[in-house]
């Protein structure tokens, strides 16, 4: 089996003569959280729907668990848990009763599946409150509980934090992280909020007007998000002495025999360079890395930015 749990090739969706998803090649790696980032209407939900077979594919193909899903839907879908927009629950039943129905329909992987799923999302089990009386946040939580009810290998979550208050967002974020880090689930999640994705995802795909502009690991992106002065000098001990004595900073780290990073970006680079030269330390290169993720996204989305 390949390392990709979801792989799409030239995935395209047209509504009439309008192209909402344009030749998208998505690669979701096993055991990781993949964040699909894009503004409202960028095509995130349509991609997820096509992966789940909820809407027909115009052209291209979707591979899930390493194989094309066409004709294998019945075998594949029980291994996926999903929440796409507002899930359909019966308003005149309680949360637990709703989940019991889904558990009966789909089957479960362990006894007490309903209770466990509700515990994970922090909803009371066997509560008397009817779904119709649920708040937006509780509905969203029940939706996630439904997605994890059968302990699936792959979760597809479309904007799971929509409609939640800040504390709720942090809670949902934490248990999504737990599902990935403690249980090894693979998760595809979409959001239009950059900071949210930055906190969650291992890999990130940026989508704008139906086109996947960039796909990269968060670690790669974070390198673009760092603020430090990178110095290459001939004599590290001497350079560090100068930094400590003349510039009174200890906020630096030595990477190898000739490279150090100064994290205190308030230092005047010209002054540092000059001081080093004066003391006979040759400066091979010095470079200020001062980019934020936000700047970067503005750059790749053509100045419009995300969120």
């Amino acid at each position: 089996m390949s390392d990709f749990l979801i792989e799409t090739r030239q995935l395209t969706k047209n509504y009439g003569d309008q192209t909402v998803v344009d030749s998208v090649n998505l690669h979701v790696k096993k055991g990781r959280i993949y964040g699909l980032l894009g503004r409202n209407g960028a095509g995130k939900t349509t991609i997820m729907k096509m992966i789940l077979g909820l809407t027909p594919i115009t052209s291209g193909e979707v591979k899930v668990f390493g194989r094309n899903i066409k004709g294998r839907e019945k075998k594949v879908y029980p291994r996926i848990g999903a929440i796409i927009e507002t899930p359909g629950f019966y308003p005149n039943l309680t949360g637990s009763e709703n989940l019991e129905i889904f558990a009966k329909l789909r089957g479960t992987a362990a006894p007490n599946a309903v209770k466990r799923a509700m515990d994970v999302v922090g909803l009371p089990y066997k509560d008397k409150k009817l779904f119709g009386k649920y708040s937006m946040g509780m509905k969203q939580r029940l939706g996630i509980a439904n997605a994890i009810l059968h302990d699936p290998e792959l979760l597809i979550l479309d904007e799971p934090t929509n409609g939640l208050d800040p504390i709720g967002i942090a809670e949902v974020r934490n248990f999504i992280l737990d599902l990935s880090k403690q249980e090894g689930k693979t998760i595809l999640i979409s959001s239009h909020i950059l900071s949210e994705i930055a906190l969650l995802a291992d890999d990130i795909g940026i989508i704008d007007h139906g086109v996947l502009l960039e796909e990269s690991s968060m670690r790669e992106l974070e390198k673009k998000n760092s603020r430090y002065i990178l110095l290459q000098v001939s004599d590290i001990p001497k350079a560090s002495l100068i930094l400590e004595r003349q510039f009174h900073t200890q906020d630096y780290s030595v990477s190898d025999n000739h490279t150090l990073r100064i994290y205190d970006t308030s230092l005047n680079m010209a002054a540092v360079n000059k001081a080093l030269m004066m003391e006979d330390v040759a400066v091979i290169s010095s470079q200020l890395c001062n980019d934020t993720l936000e700047d970067y996204f503005k750059k790749i989305t053509g100045g419009e930015g995300i969120a």
Binding site: M1, K75, P78, R79, K104, R106, G107, T108, A109, A110, P111, H150, D151, P152, E153, K181, Q182, E183, G184, K185, T186, I236, P237, K238, A239, S240, L241, I242, L243, E244, Q250, D251, Y252, S253, V254, S255, L260, Y263
Partner: protein
């Protein structure tokens, strides 16, 4: 009704019984093929695979059993992977925690040796250099201690001691340190005897690490040590009035290499509290922390008494 009528009725009855059994058989066969497929997948290493089963299935218990084994192996595997990652982080932090102070240490010494500084300034340089050397030594010591604990190679010499007497001796060493750091202290150790099976070196290390932690991280100006014997156990509480630990950080402070402030200041190495926890565990005790950000932190150690 004649014989034919009964025969007819019997035939229909048997027909339905056979139909029911055939349906049941088909369902079990279907289940078995699902189970076989899932087992192949699990055997190939996909420990996230689950077999779904319904309440009425004959194979329910088998499916639950298979899932349980997969879940168990998966969590073991993840634990292993996490400890591997911790080692990797250890190596990365080693390269910073050792290389950087070492480089500047060499810088200071070279300046003195090359007569770049003389007189009082030279003496100050030597003072700074020796401080850095001591800090390095401390770091390397705790690193080895931690590795030894982690590998389970630590040898303890447990004996029955009066914990109060032992604690008084340890605090006698700490009083001048606290005074020179400008910390008020309040030490409340009962005059009576409370006997505990401890390794005195390990117990000293536990208290030292707690106080060291307060000294380096808390920004407190008052610290309390309070010991109270109960029926079964002795409670040792260390309280400071410093900046406290936030709710997000609190659950992780005993994790190895966890540091609340991610700045690269030279102090602290993220090992002290995790060593303390390992040592307390070895004594059959517990260590917990509670904190109010802005108001201070309380560490509570409970050790079982010798009755």
């Amino acid at each position: 009704m004649d014989i034919n009528g009964y025969l007819m009725f019997g035939c229909i009855f048997f027909f339905f019984v056979i139909l029911y059994l055939i349906i049941k058989l088909c369902r079990v066969r279907e289940q078995l093929s699902l189970i076989r497929e899932a087992l192949e997948d699990i055997k190939a290493g996909n420990l996230n695979r689950r077999v779904l089963t319904r309440e009425s299935d004959m194979t329910k218990q088998i499916c639950y059993g298979i899932n349980e084994i997969a879940v168990g192996s998966q969590s073991l595997l993840i634990q292993q992977r996490q400890s591997e990652q911790a080692y990797k982080r250890l190596m990365t932090s080693l390269s910073h925690d050792v290389k950087t102070p070492l480089a500047s240490l060499v810088g200071y010494l070279e300046a003195v040796e090359g007569k770049l500084v003389t007189g009082e300034e030279a003496e100050e340089y030597i003072h700074v250099a020796s401080e850095k050397a001591y800090r390095l030594k401390e770091f390397v010591t705790s690193l080895f201690e931690w590795v030894k604990l982690d590998a389970g190679e630590q040898v303890y010499h447990f004996e029955v001691y009066d914990l109060n007497e032992l604690s008084r001796n340890i605090m006698a060493e700490w009083i001048p340190v606290l005074e020179s750091a400008g910390l008020d202290y309040e030490i409340d150790i009962p005059e009576t005897e409370d006997t505990v099976r401890v390794d005195p070196n390990a117990y000293t290390r536990i208290l030292n690490n707690l106080f060291q932690n307060i000294l380096v991280h808390s920004e407190a100006d008052h610290v309390t040590l309070h010991i109270a014997g109960e029926e079964q156990q002795i409670g040792i509480t260390v309280t400071d009035n410093g900046k406290g630990i936030s709710k997000e950080n609190l659950p992780h402070i005993f994790d190895r290499l966890y540091q609340c402030d991610h700045s690269r200041s030279m102090q602290g190495n993220g090992l002290g509290l995790s060593i303390a926890k390992e040592l307390v565990n070895a004594h059959g005790g517990t260590i917990t922390a509670s904190s109010t950000p802005g108001a201070g932190t309380t560490f509570t150690i409970l050790l079982p008494k010798v009755l």
